[in-house]
Symmetry: C2
Subunit: 211 residues, 2 copies
Amino acid sequence: MTVSAAKSQARSKGLETAQRVRKAAVKRFAASGYAAVSMREIANDVGVQPGALYNHFPTKQDILKDLMLSHMSDLLAAWGASGISGDLDPLERFVRFHIRFHLERADEVFISFMELRSLDPENFAAVEQERRRYETILTDILIEGISAGRYSVDNAKVTTRAIIAMLTGIPTWYREGGDLSESDIETLYLDLVRKAVAPSSTVSPKGGRMA
Amino acid sequence: MTVSAAKSQARSKGLETAQRVRKAAVKRFAASGYAAVSMREIANDVGVQPGALYNHFPTKQDILKDLMLSHMSDLLAAWGASGISGDLDPLERFVRFHIRFHLERADEVFISFMELRSLDPENFAAVEQERRRYETILTDILIEGISAGRYSVDNAKVTTRAIIAMLTGIPTWYREGGDLSESDIETLYLDLVRKAVAPSSTVSPKGGRMA
DNA sequence: CTTGAAAATGAATGAACGTTCATTTAATTC
DNA sequence: GAATTAAATGAACGTTCATTCATTTTCAAG
């Protein structure tokens, strides 16, 4: 630990509390929605008086902004990290990555989708920019696959949104311990996506010959 | 007009106001979310004092319940009515119907999706039941198509949810007057859906021969 | 052991909330 | 045109909201 790091982390209690605030806020915002959650409820979950929250976040809105921006940056960072073993088909990589990440962090995903409208305009713009960056990843994969003749799609942007909407809907109904494992879900959705973007004349699971 | 109808509609001012309340509430709830909208805002939109709202709806929660239940019943009724000219492929009929209805009533759809958690448990159960009925329509179409050999799908229920999520995402980004007409959207999504559920060996736009 | 700052307390702020209610307005019925 | 009644008013209810703040506690650093 460096000297400056030691200084800034000297009082670690505060950082821990801030983290507990985030955890509690995520749970509450996901369950009831930003507007329906009070600072008192969050404070109560953390085990602290309402006023103490303001030692860690200047306003309630800042808690939401913090959650959403760090979620988006986690998402983009995780995508970057997921590509180190680069031998997988990019579309498969994206679909599997998206499903895994969104099932792992269902609450954050839900908030990031539902609470866009609860953000102040400037915070909204910042989050929206990150969301577009993420969409572009899939659009680029599709465009590249189209020009290579692997996919056939009328409109890559619309298809991007269709696929992401399809995948992002999973956490709204999927529950662990049900009939289907996470791996089953990945397989099912990957199959749907592959077929949806396949060249019009042929569909086969692993890239069959075109007619 | 019958005698009894004349009696119940004698004071039509109230029904008009109730309708204006619904309109205002739909706009506000869709824009800001149920919890973030105050009765004062709705009253202001209607051009009336807050207390006057309570002549028409017993509570704020009842406004939401009214909106969501009547939306679901409109949806199911509209589906029933859409099938009178019965010569269309059922899947195409469903996709086109769903897109049209959801683009026409984007605000209501948005509310019905976003504000489920704002409903009291009993109201939630009532709405959820209707939502399931709607899902079942598509599931049945898929199952029937599978046993007829027209579609190939691993899991009809999951595929139902995937398709509905895909379609329901449209109103979140589609705006009239953009590059794409509603009819373009229908065509694009219909193509995606058709291919996604097509028999694994062959895809062709209008039901080509299987290998 | 003292110091100093971060963290938490506990009480208070004014504003906004959903809802109630006595009263007035307006329109229909007999 | 008097009686009736739905509809709207305007003020108020008690409660809860996000936020502030003087004070106290906690605890590592010197």
